[in-house]
């Protein structure tokens, strides 16, 4: 039983990274209607920026702050420099653009920082908590707190301010939004900035566990996609819960379902996601959008 709980807990902690990345995916999806496949790579950039700052002698927390801000700036730049030239509402073009950004960012990361994997210090120190036979590392606890805080900030931003409303309006119907005085360029880049800031948190939370390498977010991105489907990409709580569930299901599946093991463990999680979306296409927390004649 302890083992089951411990493995579930480990999965939950792994899921934190998925959750953070899925949150970023969700923000950019709500804010721009784009499924941004380069979100993982953007998170990697943030992690490298933080790492470089640490190398330059900046303490870890300011370094992380710099990475978050720089990511937001990068997001804005990407929107203004690239994304806005692609016709919106062209799902496949936007997705291809995401792949293009992924390849491009990956190349830039590799050129600037090299492909050699590196260690990344945990900003939370290296202590361990034992509780009722279960074990949590400082990194795991800190990651949870950081991601929860990010989710909270996003929730406040989206519900307490008109930020979310503007973002969604511009994404959903740029023409009508313009008639109401919303500058779509401004808000779309704001959406990108917010998403990239969230992505930066994902990168910084992931780096100490996963190590820094240009490909570090490839698998988490896949999981984050599944998380977004499971929870409902339109729901901030949904994507986070989705990420955690995916983490747990993957860990449990790998351990307890015969024949899955460490490589097919994702099958269990994915099968459940697919079953859920077949029954509830908008995901667990998503709201079905009404289509009527």
């Amino acid at each position: 039983m302890i083992e089951f709980l411990q493995i579930g807990l480990d999965g939950l902690m792994t899921g934190v990274v998925y959750a953070a990345l899925a949150l970023a995916l969700g923000v950019v999806f709500q804010g721009t209607g784009m499924l941004n496949l380069s979100q993982g790579e953007l998170a990697v950039v943030a992690a490298y920026i933080a790492w470089s700052c640490v190398q330059a002698g900046i303490p870890i927390w300011p370094a992380i702050a710099i990475a978050v801000v720089a990511s937001a700036a990068l997001g804005t730049a990407l929107y203004q420099g690239v994304v806005r030239f692609v016709p919106p509402h062209r799902e496949d073009s936007l997705m291809t653009l995401g792949v293009t950004l992924l390849l491009g960012l990956n190349a830039i990361i590799s050129i600037i920082w090299g492909t050699d994997p590196r260690g990344f210090p945990s900003p939370f120190g290296t202590w361990v908590v034992h509780l009722a036979g279960l074990r949590l590392t400082s990194q795991q606890i800190g990651g949870v707190v950081l991601v929860a805080a990010t989710m909270l900030v996003m929730a406040l931003l989206f519900t307490r301010t008109t930020f979310g409303l503007r973002l969604r309006a511009v994404a959903q119907n740029p023409r009508s939004a313009a008639f109401l005085g919303l500058r779509s360029g401004l808000w779309l880049s704001a959406g990108w900035a917010a998403a990239c800031a969230v992505g930066a948190v994902a990168g910084v939370v992931a780096a100490p566990t996963l190590g820094l390498s240009p490909a570090m977010m490839t698998v988490p991105l896949l999981m984050a996609l599944a998380a977004a489907n499971l929870g409902g990409i339109g729901s901030r709580v949904g994507v986070v819960v989705g990420g955690l569930i995916i983490g747990v299901l993957t860990a449990i599946g790998g351990r307890y379902i015969p024949g899955l093991g460490g490589d097919l463990n994702v099958v269990f999680a994915f099968a459940i996601v697919i079953a859920v979306v077949l029954v509830k296409p908008a995901g667990l927390f998503g709201r079905e959008s009404v289509v009527r004649a």
């Binding site: 016709p87 496949d92 491009g104 990956n106 190349a107 896949l222 490589d263 097919l264 697919i274």
Partner: protein, 362 residues
């Protein structure tokens, strides 16, 4: 009934626009010329180039199958590479373990492709864009893992290889590479002719309706699920065929050939080439085959591989931005605007009779 305001040129037609026979469309003749050139190519270039061209042709079949799915029936798949790979494995294993002849092995690949298409298609046609994206990306991600997992069966890392060329030249006057290229080219042309017919007329219109929205489609009598499933299966069949041909060209199948990235690359090729165009499929395939090595050959020095990747990404990005309907779409637009300019120049020469001015046609 009062006629509508028309701000474009009047057609003045009194009857339904004719169904133009294929041989009267410019596209048909472009295709004929292209095929003629393609047939002449093996006698002009080296075997090495033919190998690459054969790869392009095989990948083009895969991209075309994806065009059918994405461009025409509106289902974006991120997993076509897996089906492509399944076709390759099916054909190679049929030859290697069952010792079936090559052509029968191709049929086996087709059958397996149909089965896979049906199994994936059943849930897929019930899913919308985002969910379908996940389903297909999962399939693409799991495929290589499964290949390793069942390595007794699939050969694991060593994969399955052919001991002899799949399409050996029957005559001494052609090298194996030349012959194989011609065979692959023929299959590509047949595939495209097939697809071009398939999306014409009534089915083509049904597909437009489906892309425009479910309610519109069913209100016009289109059985959306059924048609989508049919197209999912056909698309898988062609992907499997392309994969089998690709495997024959390469002479082997190994898991590394079919990572998730490959599936995504196929989608990129489809979009960049032009997902509603068959020429686009070939252009897209040529792009993914040639551009990476081209980019690495023009960029010398340290870190060249990643600069090359960056160049690749920039070129893709430019294509997506400049030509939102793909390179083929941009080409078509360019051609039609040239045509229009020419036409206008011709039209402005003689004084236009007043009875045909725009205002008058109401």
């Amino acid at each position: 009934m009062s006629a509508p305001v028309v701000h474009t040129e009047p057609t003045g037609r009194a009857t339904a626009p004719d169904i133009r026979p294929r041989y009267r469309t410019p596209g048909f003749w472009t295709a004929v010329v292209a095929v003629a050139i393609a047939v002449a190519v093996p006698f002009l270039v080296s075997d090495y180039d033919l190998f690459n061209l054969s790869r392009v042709a095989a990948v083009a079949i895969g991209v075309a199958s994806l065009n059918l799915l994405t461009g025409f029936s509106g289902q974006v798949s991120l997993g076509q590479g897996a089906t492509f790979g399944i076709g390759g494995y099916a054909a190679m294993m049929a030859i290697r373990y069952l010792e079936w002849p090559v052509w029968v092995a191709l049929l086996a690949a087709i059958a397996v492709g149909a089965l896979v298409g049906f199994v994936i298609g059943l849930p897929a046609v019930r899913m919308g864009g985002f969910n379908l994206g996940l389903l297909t990306i999962v399939i693409a991600a799991l495929f290589p893992v499964l290949l390793y997992r069942f390595s007794d069966f699939t050969g694991g890392q060593a994969g399955v290889t052919l001991a002899a060329p799949a399409f050996p030249s029957p005559t001494d006057s052609l090298t194996d590479a030349q012959w194989s290229y011609l065979v692959v080219l023929t299959l590509l042309v047949l595939t495209i002719a097939f697809l071009d017919q398939l999306v014409a007329r009534r089915t083509g219109r049904a597909l437009s309706l489906i892309r425009a929205g479910r309610i519109l489609a069913v209100s016009n009598g289109v059985d959306v699920e059924r048609l989508k499933l049919q197209f999912f299966v056909i698309s898988s069949v062609l992907a499997a065929l392309g994969g089998a041909i690709f495997a024959f060209v390469l002479g082997l199948v190994v898991p590394e050939s079919y990572p998730l990235v490959f599936s995504i690359t196929l989608l990129v090729a489809s979009v960049v080439g032009g997902s509603r165009s068959w020429i686009g499929a070939i252009l897209g395939a040529a792009m993914v085959v040639y551009l990476p090595s081209l980019a690495s050959s023009v960029i010398p020095g340290e870190a060249s591989a990643y600069l090359a990747q960056l160049v690749f990404a920039v070129v893709l990005g430019l294509c997506v931005i400049v030509a939102s309907s793909g390179i083929a779409g941009a080409g078509r637009r360019l051609a039609s605007s040239i045509e229009r300019v020419l036409r206008e120049r011709r039209a402005t020469a003689p004084p236009t009779p007043p009875s045909t001015t725009r205002e008058e046609i109401r």
